[in-house]
Symmetry: C2
Subunit: 272 residues, 2 copies
């Protein structure tokens, strides 16, 4: 099916992250359709709303199909102005806020609160990010007892981004330990992580994909060689199995999916 | 208003990130109400759905008020089973998917696709995270021309988590440079970033908050002293103003808000 690209506007009076999430989740349900996306965060005044209406209306005139407007605008006045545009409006707060007000028997705030800074959350995040950075790539076994989880895998199997995502998104203190060829030569667990076996979680990856990633980094090296990749991955998986360490394959998973899988498997609770 | 804590279930047949976002955005609209949250990701079979219904129904019996169920379950069968529970259901796909199907004149997939791994996105992310790690804390000016943005601020003003969030969420290559007392003693821009002035973005922070953060790290040091913090922050802001560098105050902003503000101000485009 060929079709002109629909324009999709993600609009919010805050960061726009909710409206982007919502729009993405919906649009990916339509196969073979392509969309031209743009995000408009902080549309929080009547003026900005009128400006946006003009932009949407211009798109509506230029394109064959009307633009989609995914809106998570909580301010009633601003939201109503945006809804006067010629787009198709999918308004998050319109759909659900009334239902909750009725259930609770109270009126919602209907406004962006200059949110009292959640210091606790900020601190948990900062601490977790610092922890992950200080325990990236097995650089230090200091305070490894404070780790919530220790990711283990061969070089370039996806440990670092997953640790950082766990830290930023959930405040989880995630260390990581890279399995070196030396580690993989023995049947024992690496000395540094041996005493933390119950916190270990393994990452594995398709050797072909690992080869591609390493090839980018050190072309035509022994490190990137497909056979090296195959052997390392096989040895790592054997180690995970031998010691009963839970593990997952990162090849077809996004960082979000990996993080959630690890939270579930290791029964971790978000720290904020 | 005192009230028993309502239970809020965030349910999905995928990661649950969308349903958590959606639920949080709605619930924070109700001031003074407290909720007891739990997330159930990967509810993707009829069996798991029936199991969850039992959990929700047990909560409904224990509590005075009925539980809230924020659902972003795309599989019709699974979603319908979850909807038989005694909770109040706010179902994301029920609200919006039909509207889009009608607009497009096609039926949506209604299933979780074992998503073809988006390699491009993965690579952009990996590259951005590696870039940020390699350019954290001004450790290297190598390849600084490849940076999309360079965050500048005094020690502990929030540069690192913001850089990592920009990398993970948007694939942005964000470097950061810590303004040292030596840098702040001169009127010139630091040598390392001087040639990249158009990419600089400043972070500032309330001196009292900075004092608290530094106090945690090095109690009662000159570094943490409130006067030191006041002077450093004043000098940094003076530098930003003198050189026309845009800047923002991090004190009351979340990492998400900072990232979006920087994207907007620096006109950055997400890389995936």
């Amino acid at each position: 099916m060929t079709q002109a690209r629909r324009r999709a506007f993600f609009v919010s009076d805050r960061t726009g992250i909710t409206s982007e999430n919502m729009g993405d989740a919906l649009l990916e349900q339509f196969e073979n359709m392509k969309f031209k996306r743009s995000t408009y965060p902080y549309v929080d005044t009547a003026d900005k709303a009128h400006g946006l209406v003009q932009i949407i209306n211009r798109a509506a005139e230029e394109d064959e199909a009307r633009p989609l407007v995914f809106s998570s605008i909580v301010n009633d006045e601003v939201r109503e102005i945006v809804k006067t545009s010629k787009g198709l409006h999918l308004s998050f707060f319109d759909a659900f806020l009334g239902v909750l007000e009725e259930e609770f028997g109270v009126r919602a705030r209907h406004s962006v609160q200059s949110r009292v800074h959640n210091l606790e959350r900020y601190d948990a995040r900062m601490e977790a990010v610092n922890f992950s950075l200080n325990h990236d790539d097995g650089v230090s076994d200091k305070n490894l007892e404070a780790a919530d989880v220790i990711l283990m895998g061969v070089s370039r199997s996806g440990k670092t981004p997953t640790c950082l995502y766990l830290a930023l998104q959930y405040g989880i203190r995630a260390a990581n330990y890279p399995l070196t060829p030396d580690d993989l030569d023995t049947t024992d667990l690496p000395r540094m992580v041996k005493n933390h076996k119950h916190k270990l979680f393994g990452l594995t990856i398709q050797p072909e994909r690992l080869h591609d990633i390493r090839q980018e980094r050190r072309p035509d090296s022994r490190y990137a060689n497909l056979n090296t990749c195959r052997n390392e991955v096989a040895d790592a998986q054997a180690m995970f199995r031998r010691h009963g360490i839970p593990f997952t394959n990162t090849t077809h998973k996004s960082v979000e999916e990996l993080a959630v899988a690890i939270m579930q498997e290791c029964k971790l609770k978000r720290r904020f």
